[in-house]
Subunit: 205 residues, 2 copies
Amino acid sequence: MAKTASSKEAILAAGRREFAARGFSGARVEAIARAAGCNKAMLFYYFSSKEKLYRAVLAGALGEIFAELGGVVHARLTPERFMERFPGIYIRFLARNPDLPRILVFDLIRDPENFSRTMAGIFRENSEFNPQRFLGMVRSWHDQGLIAEEDPLHFMLNVISLSIFSFVGRPMVEAISGLRSEDGEAFYRARIRSVVRLLKKGMLK
Amino acid sequence: MAKTASSKEAILAAGRREFAARGFSGARVEAIARAAGCNKAMLFYYFSSKEKLYRAVLAGALGEIFAELGGVVHARLTPERFMERFPGIYIRFLARNPDLPRILVFDLIRDPENFSRTMAGIFRENSEFNPQRFLGMVRSWHDQGLIAEEDPLHFMLNVISLSIFSFVGRPMVEAISGLRSEDGEAFYRARIRSVVRLLKKGMLK
DNA sequence: GTTTGGTTTAACCATACGGTTAATATAACA
DNA sequence: TGTTATATTAACCGTATGGTTAAACCAAAC
């Protein structure tokens, strides 16, 4: 680390980890710098403030998520195929990048306005995921009588809730149940199976 | 405010609002005291540290949530009736107390261990919601062939995800869709309808 | 080998913040 | 009314933290 030209990347990566673990206010600029293998001043040299670094991290995280999702939407699937594939792709992707849902949810609560603006920015620049196209797809599924849900917004909320909250809510459910669920791979496999079944059975007409 | 004997309550209430809005590290002790109409030192007089106050707030929030849920479980419903009633009760309750899901999710991310411990404490003292009884109920539904999901943990994750993430994720979905959803009552009514339909159709055998 | 431009550092700075203290006000009650 | 226990406050305190600065380092260009 601390090798020229990669310092900026190292800071971004370390920032992502720190912000995901402690949220914006909990994150310490100095800790980020240390984790990136450089001096605190470097961070300000490249990002000029904690806030700016945070925004860069958030934008990066959102960008990665939607890049990943772009493919599923481009594929023009049937709703059945969509519900079979979407949870798996999304859940596995988040499992590989557990910092992303944390940052996302943290920011969603702390500052919904900022979150919305950042997302709007992503869509404007990065065309890999086109929300209007996705919405149109969902609406046409309903018009063709393929899915029961008439409101695309609630369709999305259902699909996304089940995927994202798998991560955030897991400790909660474990605490209620007292059961420590199997770690890693086994848990995600079971989770995907359950979500896919629920969505296919519950949303298809 | 600042009237004897209610100061402690005022601080707890103000703390709940502040922690919900900014998370633990983002919350300012001084801001809480001011919002409670008293001096910062009062806060330490009653709660001795920010951390202790936070724990009290979290415990209170969780206690209220599970007190609310206790009734549904005690009622020994059929799975069909359960899925008809649970989302409505839960979503409406959270809508009336929007700080609760925020605090909960904040803490869930920041410190899952602490969250688990707090919840275990709640169950030990407050018997209004009995997790083992609830799990038993779900398991028996499956054994009787009434529901498809064989794993009570994933049953719970599904049900809870759909309810809680309605709140947290709403700005996200609005940002994707570009549609600003109807406020308050109309949104929650639609949300409950969608979740109930999905659960009944998707989880009942 | 000297200039030049981006990169890196150590040492600072101001302040915001959690927490303390010692003194005062208030209520309870004998 | 005097005594005691609880509430409440203003004034502090030490430190952690975001941010700055000025100087040094170092590669490439000339």
